[in-house]
Amino acid sequence: MADSGTADSRGGRGGFGRGFGRGGDRGRGRGRGRGRRGARKEDDKEWVPVTKLGRLVKENKIKTIEEIYLYSFPIKEYQIVDRLISTTLKDEVMKIMPVQKQTRAGQRTRFKAFVVIGDSNGHVGLGVKCSKEVATAIRGAIILAKLSVIPVRRGYWGSSLGEPHTVPCKVTGRCGSVIARLVPAPRGTGIVAAPTPKKLLQLAGITDCYTTSRGSTRTLGNFVKATFAAIGNTYGFLTPDLWKDSDEIKQSPYQEFSDILAKAPDKRKS
């Protein structure tokens, strides 16, 4: 199994660069270690992007997060969201929930953190993280919340006067047994909702909204995810004012070439 006849470790010669082990009889020019420019301290500050999207954001080739949403690129690094909308993002810890698992030697407790993040101007994110310590769970949940930031479409209740203030249409979202429904409301109504979705809707930037919910809303996880899904559906709804843009969507190839397909196969080659 082990090559015990030879050196038991690559010792002074293995690896590359400085390596480790004894000095002496090694090849020349074994390379050097890191410079002493305080390299260790600078590690924490600077973000070195790993994905292509990250590199583009770091070089400021992408200025707004909407450009990323337009092409549905997956956002894998939370620093991207930090860079693009960091100044206005506020996070809020909704709940820390201890969850337990039964083991032979008693119970193992972990903490589950729900964090909602938003800039009160059309972007929200929701993060859920479980961990042995509260602080770690909150930190992890904030990162996940940043990764899940989603755009919110706002509209008008009546006349389109001033800035949009409410959901554009009735939207609904569900998770588990909970169904959350958001209904447009006239200006000045405020958010008519339970405290949990109210925080979420405030951070989304929706000023007026009626809500209805059904199911076991005591399960906070499901309730908040249902509301989050409802908010996400605002951009998934094709309203009449978007009909004009959808005309640019071409016909499917089956329709476009239907006359060619209708011809007999031997007559097609023309």
Binding site: S9, R18, V50, T136, R174
Partner: protein
């Protein structure tokens, strides 16, 4: 002191070179022209051609990795070549990378053992002529002046135009201007040059095992007091997260500038850590990593190149098909087999990409 049971990884970082990266110093470097370990027998352009676009490839990374066993591998270098054209990688990435291993015994005719006993005769060994642009074997020559060597027609054309050879051909010009134009030409063709410096990865201070469901460890001190209320005990809200990527990010976090991870630090392969995956897709199977065709031994993972290297290569990322990867894993023969008269042995590179998943919330059907 040496690593025994805890698997340690040696990290590589890119830094501007302190001393010139010439072959005598046995450098580990990124980009530039290769510093050949064996200066008499160097690679031809035909051996290093991208099989998609048929242009000669350029040096991506060169690592000096000496070994104890066999004795012919006292000096050992791994060269990784890649095609600069990103679209070739999109079509067939396996054809756009080539890895070569070259080794020399301790007593060789090219490099003296210690600096003090520099024999004059060693310097006069026939060092092969290098292409003035990229450093591969310069088998072709400029027809007019017969003084400049090229590896391929493409580089001859490049040197003629951007290297200003049409001005300098058959004329006497100052070497500094010629060098300046040569460097301009090389900048266009090759990757920017850096030295690779190393550091060991520090041990993880806190082993947070959030996903592991290990029994045994329980915080009995205050757990009894925290009995959850209501019907929330066994709720399980799961989220589709790219766990592999998050683990990768967490591992990189202490040293975010690392570009390279060297795993094979022990002769016993069980003690070496496995590769750090960046996603769950694209993992190589046993069929993908062929055993060494010369000695029949299996190939093990030696090191991996991370995507953070792309930050140093001055690529225009806005292009649709710019060079991109998740991580590149290099597999090489476990025994460093040495074949007589075969100076460069092909090894295997495996590319793993990031997955295309973002954060997905499970949408319940209405």
């Amino acid at each position: 002191m040496a690593a025994s049971s805890t698997a340690v990884v040696e990290l590589g970082f890119a830094e501007p070179p302190e001393s010139p990266l010439i072959a005598e110093n046995f450098p580990s470097k990124i980009g530039g022209r290769p510093a050949w370990l064996n200066p008499e027998h160097i690679l031809l352009a035909d051996q290093v051609r991208c099989e998609v676009c048929c242009k000669p490839m350029i040096l991506l990374v060169q690592l000096y990795t000496p070994e104890d066993y066999p004795p012919e591998a006292f000096h050992r270098t791994i060269y990784v070549f890649c095609c600069k054209n990103g679209s070739c990688h999109k079509i067939a990435w396996q054809k756009s990378f080539k890895v070569f291993r070259s080794q020399l015994p301790k007593d060789n005719i090219y490099w003296a053992e210690n600096e003090s006993s520099l024999d004059n005769t060693t310097k006069k060994k026939p060092f092969a002529k290098q292409c003035i642009v990229c450093g591969l074997l310069g088998s072709k020559m400029c027809g007019k002046c017969n003084q400049v060597n090229y590896c391929s027609k493409e580089h001859q054309i490049e040197h003629w135009t951007s290297g200003q050879h049409k001005i300098h051909c058959n004329t006497i010009s100052t070497t500094s201007i010629i060098e300046e134009h040569n460097n301009q030409c090389r900048k266009l063709v090759l990757f920017p040059e850096f030295e690779i410096v190393t550091e060991q990865e520090g041990r993880d201070q806190e082993e947070e095992n959030e996903d592991g469901e290990r029994d045994g460890d329980n915080n009995s001190s205050n757990s009894k007091a925290l009995v959850p209320v209501g019907d929330e005990i066994y709720e399980n809200t799961s989220v589709d997260v790219d766990k592999a990527f998050l683990k990768f990010q967490k591992r990189i976090e202490p040293h975010p500038e690392q570009i390279l991870r060297y795993n094979r630090l022990e002769y016993e392969s069980e003690k070496n850590p496995g590769p750090l995956w960046v996603s769950d897709i694209d993992k190589p199977t046993v069929q993908d990593i062929n055993p060494c065709p010369h000695c029949g031994q299996e190939r093990t993972m030696e090191f991996q190149i991370l995507s953070t290297l792309l930050n140093y290569l001055e690529i225009n990322h806005l292009q649709q098909s710019s060079l991109d990867w998740g991580t590149l894993l290099i597999y090489s023969c476990k025994n460093n087999c040495h074949i007589e008269n075969m100076y460069y042995i092909n090894e295997i590179l495996w590319r793993q990409n990031f997955s295309d998943d973002g954060l997905k919330w499970k949408r319940d059907p209405k």
